[in-house]
Each structure stands twice: as C-alpha cells, then as structure tokens.
Symmetry: C2
C-alpha cells in the first residue's frame, strides 16, 4: 500500500494541477490578476493558498522519499505566481513518477524522520496512515476550498478525479 499511496498522491496532485489551471482561467475570464489567489486565506490564522500548495507538495515528495530512503528535491518556496505554483505541482508529480513498487520493498520496518520533532521518528506504517495521508489531504482540501470560496467553479469530482468503476 506504500507504492499505491504514492500513486494516489500523484493522481490527486494531477487533480490539484487541473484545479489551479481552472483558477487561472477563471481569473483571466473575469479580468483580474490570477496571482491574487496566492495570498487568500480561509481565515486569518490559517496559511494562504501559496503555502497550502507548498505543504501539499512537500508532504507528497517527503513521503515518497522518506519511505524509499531517497532524497527529495529541495524547492525554494519562493513562488509568486499561480503559474509557478502549477509548475511546482507538475515537478512534484514528475518526481513521484520516478518511484517503482520495489522502491518500497521492506519499508514496513523502516523509521521515518519527522522534521518537526528532531531526534524522533515514526514507524513507516504509522507515518503514512496517521501523518502523511491526513496532512496531504488537509492541505489539498484547504486549497480547493479557498479557490471555491474565491469563485472558481469546482465540485467534488475535481477533487477526487476519475474513479475506476467496474460492473457489479
């Protein structure tokens, strides 16, 4: 389920990219500066859109790298335009695409470092289930809600993406 989690992060980042593109088109159509979205917050003590996207992508790349024992690329966190944020999401997807199922062989026994608690770590299964996945969806959902509050025409399908259905 480790590889599947990374594949799912990749899928959702694809959805997020499409959501950001929708926001860009919305702004262009209405004739306002699309970069105005970057500073929007759901409430004054929450991070603005730019930081939500930074954390969502950081969580995705840190999870893949941490589990597979690889290095994640460092981003400079200096995006000032929506186009740069779209590019960041795209780069993160490309990074995730480089992982294969066997990068995660034996990962159950691995410890994963948590930046906010130096000297401490989490067991890989706990890290994925209790930290990486909730945190990733937290920031993607918040970004989605921000943009929806900002007038972009979004629905649940934009968030979930296509679901592979089969006959009953």
């Amino acid at each position: 389920m480790y590889f599947e989690t990374i594949q799912q992060f990749q899928k959702v980042l694809g959805n997020l990219e499409a959501i950001l593109v929708k926001a860009k088109h919305h702004a262009d159509r209405r004739g306002f500066d699309a970069n105005n979205f970057l500073g929007m917050r759901l409430t004054p003590d929450m991070f603005p859109l730019v930081r939500q996207i930074q954390i969502a992508t950081d969580t995705a790349k840190a999870t893949a790298a941490g589990l597979a024992g690889k290095e994640a690329p460092l981003y400079e966190d200096n995006e000032t335009t929506l186009t740069q944020l779209i590019e960041r999401v795209r780069s993160t997807r490309a990074f995730l695409q480089g992982f294969k199922a066997n990068d995660f062989a034996g990962v159950e026994a691995r410890k994963v470092k948590v930046p906010s608690t130096p000297g401490k770590a989490m067991r890989a299964p706990d890290y994925v289930m209790q930290r990486a996945v909730p945190n990733f969806y937290f920031h993607v959902t918040t970004a989605y809600a921000l943009l929806r509050q900002g007038g972009v025409d979004l629905g649940k399908k934009d968030f979930l993406g296509d679901l592979p259905m089969i006959d009953l």
Copy 2:
C-alpha cells in the same frame, strides 16, 4: 491496510469529536448558541457543517461495512444541535470499534458498491485509496476549517491527534 484504515477513521473521528466539543465550549464561553455552527458554510455552494459531519460519518461507516460485507446502521440525518452531531460521531466510532482485523480477510478481491452510480462498483483497493479516504478527509477538513473560520481555537494537532513517535 483495510483494518488499519478503519482504525485510522476511528482515530480521526475521535479528533473530530474533540473539535466539536471545543466548538461547543467556545460558543458557551462567548454566550452564543452553539447550534448556529450547524448552518455555516465555507461558501454558498458548499454543504453546511451539519452535512459535512453527516457525510464524514457516513463515509466511515459505509467503508467499514462495505469492505467487510456487513450492514451499516442507518442514521436519520435529522440533527439540529451540536450535541446531536457529537453523538453521531460517537456512535460511528462505536460502530467502527466493532470491527476486527479478520473481518477484512480476502477483501482485496471484493467489489464495493458506490451509491451514486447504481449498477456499478469499485474494486476494494481502488475504493479505499481513491474514494473512501480522500472523501473522508475532505469532509473532516472542511468541518475543521468551518469551525476555525467560526473562531474556534484549533490547530493542526487537533486534526491529526497524537502521533506515535519512537527514538531515531
């Protein structure tokens, strides 16, 4: 990972219960009707808090029941008070607590029905990874953000709960 997902839903519903209790205390302290929160929306075309909590709990119980081939309890969706919503979260946790690891033996091969697409189903692994988990966190995050927008003193820790750390 099926059983672990249900255990994680149970944990997060515990966090959600504590968040709703905080909202109740906040309202009591400020001297306004805590039930005012139920109708709050992040934006006019999103569901209000009451529906966010209903869908989060529905997703949790439908996932556990659908995967294990059991029946989920039906709720009447008629909550009008914050106390009733807290009770709904609590009942859902109790329902999830009844599942054991071996309820999910062989579930990989199971098909799970999706209410919104009659006659269709999803393979259990796709259902959990691509629909149940994202949908669950979507609604819990939205409820959290709504309450935070409503002035309740919340942080990421309320959302994630305690994380089991070990030494590096």
